[in-house]
């Protein structure tokens, strides 16, 4: 498959997920429960944006998409702008008041349907540029945020969301805590044990993908580098890889 077709396919995928999530029946189903709203719909929306952003990042140098990307990225030194904006968006939508409004007011929900995918997109564009130390900070902050919200929802004695029942709220809190634990393990896994074994096998069995994986490595895409390289590559090198990304985008 040509690179353009590849990117087109990824973009179509992301947009399809977005459209399906926005379909009235799916929206009603996922927003009927706080748990599905917060732990399924929001991540899928952000994921669709991330997927589109990852495709955009791989656009052919010199193409209009790549030129637009480098224009956007010129405001995103070190990925800080994107990560900060995405953090605000995601935290705000996890507040009980915003969840309620999204459930009760279609106009507010429309804002959510635009802003959350954009947050995912911003993460996709910013993560590779983010210095390794700051990535660690972001990971910690994600874990802390999930724990804070999880504990808050679990321990609240009254209903915090008017549109959701107390039991639903408690279950959401509980799952947020589990998610925080899972995220912590996932984030700590690679530095400690190297790539997830099935991923490693898949990589070894697919040499045709090596060019792309090497490129992904340069991009600093998470989950791609061998642990030894991670150890040899502290902060400054990541910045260098980042420089290469920028150089390629500007071709």
């Amino acid at each position: 498959m040509t690179r353009e077709a590849d990117l087109l396919r990824d973009t179509v995928w992301a947009v399809s997920v977005w459209i399906v999530l926005g379909a009235p029946a799916v929206r009603a189903l996922l927003e009927a429960s706080m748990m599905l709203h917060m732990l399924v719909q929001l991540p899928l929306l952000a994921g669709a944006g991330y997927y589109a952003g990852a495709a955009w990042r791989r656009s052919r140098p010199g193409s209009a998409a790549a030129r637009l990307l480098s224009a956007v990225q010129s405001f995103n030194a070190g990925g800080a702008t994107g990560i900060l904006a995405a953090s605000f968006v995601m935290v705000l939508w996890m507040l009980p008041r915003c969840l309620d409004l999204a459930r009760l007011d279609p106009a507010v929900d429309a804002i959510k349907f635009v802003s959350v995918p954009l947050a995912g997109l911003a993460v996709a564009l910013s993560w590779p540029r983010l210095p390794a130390v700051l990535r660690g900070v972001v990971h910690l902050e994600v874990i802390a945020t999930l724990l804070r919200f999880g504990w808050g929802y679990l321990a609240a004695e009254e209903r915090l969301c008017l549109a959701y029942l107390a039991g639903d709220q408690q279950r959401t809190g509980e799952w947020l805590l589990w998610l925080a634990a899972a995220y912590a393990i996932a984030a700590a896994w690679r530095p400690m044990f190297g790539p997830w074994p099935p991923l490693r096998r898949a990589r070894a069995g697919a040499p045709a993908d090596s060019a792309q994986s090497a490129k992904a490595h340069n991009d600093g895409a998470p989950g791609r580098a061998h642990p030894a390289q991670v150890i040899e590559m502290p902060g400054p090198n990541t910045r260098e890889a980042d420089g290469m990304t920028i150089a390629r985008e500007r071709v």
């Binding site: 405001f75 995103n76 030194a77 070190g78 800080a80 702008t81 994107g82 900060l84 904006a85 953090s87 605000f88 968006v89 935290v91 705000l92 507040l95 009980p96 008041r97 915003c98 309620d100 409004l101 009760l104 209903r159 915090l160 969301c161 008017l162 549109a163 959701y164 029942l165 107390a166």
Partner: protein, 201 residues
Amino acid sequence: MAAALACAAGLVAAHAATDGFRAYTLESARRLQALRAAASLPDLALELADGGRARLSALPGRVLLVDFIYTRCETYCTALGSVYAQLQQRLGEAIAAGEVQLVSVTFDRERDGAAELRAYRARHGAQRPGWALGRPESPADVQRWLNAFGVVVIPDKLGGYAHNAAIHVVGPDRKLAAIVDVADLDGAEAAARAILARGKR
């Protein structure tokens, strides 16, 4: 530079979304809103349990204490019922003077007819004077009542409903002047008396 802007924009958005970091839930937001600037209410009508119909503007009493109920409710509506019975006693003299009226609005239009509503009042040992009960005139009207006061009703999956129960204090201008917690008898009484005192000056 752009990062600082993103941070500033994020803080502005967060400030706006939480009323200056003071209301993180919709319930606290609507209570804060009522205290800041009393919101006008549409002049909605009720079919009264004691017969007849009345619009909000035509209900007797300079101050109305409005709550939303359904009579089958066995949790906090029961609390609301007994709170109203107690308020009826505490505010007895203002009620006798026609200055305060307690109003219970059912949102379970299908099941709560006049008889059920009167039985609900009787169950709490309360008398008729000063406590009007009623139901909106149509299902769409129920929604209008709930929207006007910012009440959200959801099925509780046990055949009943969950809702943000509270006492809504409505002034002589028929604006929503305060929203007081169900358990806060003193607060409800104080809010009613404050409005009455303001009128006398």
